[in-house]
Subunit: 192 residues, 2 copies
DNA sequence: CATAAATATTGACCGTGGTCATATTGCAAG
DNA sequence: CTTGCAATATGACCACGGTCAATATTTATG
């Protein structure tokens, strides 16, 4: 018989996520240790892996939660659309782990813990905006909005990745600004 | 005094790469174990890490060597340019590890073991081709060839990633074909 | 050739992610 | 209540990447 999920189970899972999220805030995602999470959550290590297939899936869910709040809503024009990418770009470049997880779960690993859903939502939202801008004649009509949105996401990842690459510039801030410019250049050339 | 690198050192390094490359051919990149590599190469584990900062750097070098032979040369027209992307796409989707390493080293980790150089070469080569095609009026003139090439690379990564994502389609072959179509759609919309 | 210094190699050791047989807890039926 | 079973939790254990003080080898120099 298929019995429903017990309360304590989702409580445990939530506590793990909450604890991990809190720890990630002051140690960074890269500093997360399962042992430490488990200890502070008051459960055994095995319990962790009963709720998450591996550590990366928990991290992916943390990233997904962060991303979920950053999906842009409205965009009266192209400049507004570009501005809406800023928080996402900031998230992706804030910690190297974020991009790592995104690259791994937005593609290869698939079926992440909610991350794929968030990304789909994001792309759908962007497609909606781009479609509206197409209607206003502010965005080129040729590829359909969904394709445009997918391309924007690809550029977001690429630009964020280049922000981390020490080759382009030694200084971290300079790299980030260069990557920001790259993103604007790519996206505006893509959608207009 | 800065003494030159000893012969045995580059021999050891080469043997490690050769052995790892051979093992990767029949076990896949994901199946590589440093212990196994080291054993078959006849060196101690510490020696491995004296030559490579970590396992991923060795894998990155293997991937770089594979990629180096796939850099497209000529492209009489847009269709030819698209066709030149095919081997790269095939490499990226052949093993999930390849994409993982690319995503990690083309961006975040930076200063990979030659991978970054190969990628720069690739982008430069593509920029050359796109510039020529611009001259022929076959590619849109607006973004400079370097930007166009960078965008193409971003799309390559994105399409390859989507080929691995189980969400799009359950069947592996169908996914790969869908991703191939996506790549063609994105790139042709990007460069024309 | 002797010797010292730089280079290269070694392998025991460690941290951490992940597994699994076992124990415990919650729930529903008798 | 209690009995039986599925869901959940446990923690000793393992695999594997990576470290480092010690050792061996090469090379430059007097």
């Amino acid at each position: 018989m298929a019995r429903p999920v017990q309360q304590r189970s989702i409580q445990t899972r939530d506590r793990l996520l909450q604890v991990a999220g809190a720890m990630a805030l002051d140690q960074g995602l890269a500093g997360l240790r399962t042992e430490a999470i488990v200890e502070r959550a008051g459960v055994a290590k095995g319990t962790f892996f009963a709720h998450f297939p591996d550590k990366d899936h928990l991290v992916a869910e943390l990233v997904a939660r962060r991303m979920a709040g950053l999906i842009p809503t409205d965009a009266p024009n192209v400049a507004g659309f570009l501005a809406g990418l800023e928080p996402l770009f900031a998230l992706m470049t804030a910690e190297a782990e974020v991009l790592d997880i995104l690259a791994r779960f937005a593609g290869p690993a698939g079926q992440a813990a909610g991350l794929d859903v968030v990304i789909c939502d994001l792309i759908a939202a962007q497609a909606g905006q781009l479609g509206a801008l197409q209607g206003l004649g502010l965005v080129r009509p040729s590829p359909d909005p969904a394709t445009l949105a997918e391309g924007v996401f690809a550029f977001l990842l690429h630009a964020a990745a280049s922000a981390q690459c020490p080759i382009s510039a030694p200084d971290r801030l300079a790299r980030q600004q260069a990557a920001r410019d790259l993103l604007a250049r790519l996206v505006s050339a893509w959608i207009t």
